[in-house]
Amino acid sequence: MAIPRFWREIPSRYNLVGSKCGNCGALDFPPRIVCPRCGRKSVGRMERMKLSGRGKVVTFTIVHDAPKAFDMLKPYVLAIVETDEGVRMTSTIIDVDPAEVKIGMPVESAFRKLGEEGEAGIIHYGYKFRPA
């Protein structure tokens, strides 16, 4: 992934910054310019908002066949997490025995290395989740 494509998203990847619609109050992550529920009524009224990082596992899988960049992590737990604010996102669950992961399990975000651009390129950081 090209450097600007990652760099642009740093506030959300590092600090879980999403958006709140000034019209209906619903939250989105990553931040959106237009609220999917309100359409044009929301334009110009989308405020930035930091999420707590606490939530629950909605669903998960244990990935055994992974892209080369994730080879060292195999097998790893990939999950959709719903935060306490009701926003969903996809990431991995770390610091856990994969056999212990359950739907509904409480988790919290953790700042971790996500990947790197080859051996000499920049390192990507962002959120993963661990049992809370």
């Binding site: 899988t61 990935v63 959709i80 996809t90 991995t92 739907i103």
Partner: protein
């Protein structure tokens, strides 16, 4: 939508076709369709090419003109249009084509959300596996029910001489296969295949000039949804399928009960389970149970994936929708031999792009 009929179909073998190039595959399927329709170059009005990723995989864009050129049609100066929509390219091409030859070619996938799914380690199988896990949690679907989809589709594929895998498999083979993304294993996943399919479409009022068995395209529906799985309303439903299905059935003035043969997008076993629910062949949550009970087997209540589906016929990504339509047209003409569904009057194709960010449904019926 104007009234359109299929007057010719063609497809290639599906599988790992190392000896054939992109253009050879497209042209092979296209020429078979044109021969099947018994038409000449002068009869064509336009070419629609459904293709995903030619730019990424073979560094070739502008593929619609390329296919026309290498089909010997450059002198006809036809309008050529390339359509892209993940795995649903070919199906969208049919949706777009009023009158014309529709061709589609193979390739692979970057159809998920790269910035908010893939970078965090989400694989294509992993995203479907998370839908499967949730489906099991909410609806009581079992691992064996998912496996039953693969066993059935391989059984059908064994009857299709163009299928990539013409071999039956057992429940134990599926359950004991290497794990890909739990609960899905190797045999829950369709392969990625080389291959192409082509259709010749014609205005229905002129179709009988070319064939005695025109197959009418009686309804189509095309819908999109949030591209990332985690943003969807319900993780066990592909809403794009629900909406595309409703649109197609409404346009055709038919109901799911009228459909006796269907090709649905089984890129993973869970996908077929959700598809037969979302298309209303069975109630929500009952897709696995219905499959296990044989309700979707050949000549059962509704025969699903008689070609072998993506699982056994093969998954020529962008060409999938056209390959599915080729099977349905042949079923409705009554020319598929051992895998023939008896008395099929109405058939359906269902094609997904990505994890359900796009879905396309077509309904076909005998023209007589």
């Amino acid at each position: 939508m104007r009234s359109v009929s299929v007057i010719g179909v063609g497809e290639t073998q599906f599988g790992e076709l190392w000896d054939k190039s992109f253009r050879e595959l497209g042209i092979e399927a296209g020429l078979r369709a044109i021969q099947d329709a018994k038409i000449a170059a002068e009869n064509l009005d336009a070419i629609y090419v459904g293709n995903m990723s030619a730019g990424k995989f073979i560094d070739q864009e502008h593929v619609a003109s390329l296919v026309a050129d290498y089909s010997g049609l450059a002198d006809q100066h036809l309008p050529t249009i390339r359509v892209e929509g993940g795995g649903a390219c070919g199906a969208i091409a049919i949706h777009q084509a009023d009158v014309g030859d529709v061709e589609a070619n193979e390739i692979l996938s970057s159809t998920t959300d790269q910035e908010w799914e893939s970078v965090f380690g989400a694989t294509f199988a992993g995203l479907y596996a998370m839908m499967a896990r949730r489906h099991m949690f909410e609806h009581g679907t079992t691992r064996e029910q998912l496996a039953a989809v693969a066993v059935k589709n391989h059984k059908h594929g064994a009857l299709n001489p163009n299928a990539q895998f013409q071999k039956e498999i057992t429940m134990d083979m599926v359950l004991g296969a290497p794990r890909v993304a739990e609960p899905l294993g190797l045999f829950d996943c369709a392969p990625l295949s080389d291959g192409a399919g082509a259709l010749v479409l014609c205005a229905s009022d002129r179709a009988r000039k070319f064939t005695d068995t025109p197959i009418d395209l009686i309804g189509t529906g095309h819908a999109s949804d949030f591209i990332a799985v985690h943003d969807r309303r319900d993780l066990t439903t592909i809403d794009a399928t629900v909406i595309a299905g409703k649109r197609a059935f409404h346009a055709a003035r038919k109901t799911p009960n009228d459909v006796k043969v269907a090709e649905v997008h089984d890129n993973f076993t869970i996908s077929e389970v959700m598809a037969i629910e979302d298309l209303r062949f069975v109630p929500k949550g009952k897709g696995g149970f219905a499959t296990e009970d044989g309700e979707t087997a050949l000549n059962a209540r509704v025969s699903v994936n008689t070609s072998g589906g993506l699982k056994a016929r093969g998954y020529p990504v962008g060409a999938t929708g056209v390959a599915q339509a080729v099977e349905i047209v042949r079923q409705l003409r009554g020319e598929v031999g051992k895998r023939q569904v008896s008395g099929a009057e109405v058939g359906l194709t269902h094609t997904l792009g990505g994890t359900g960010g796009t879905a396309v449904v077509h309904l076909f019926a005998r023209g007589d």
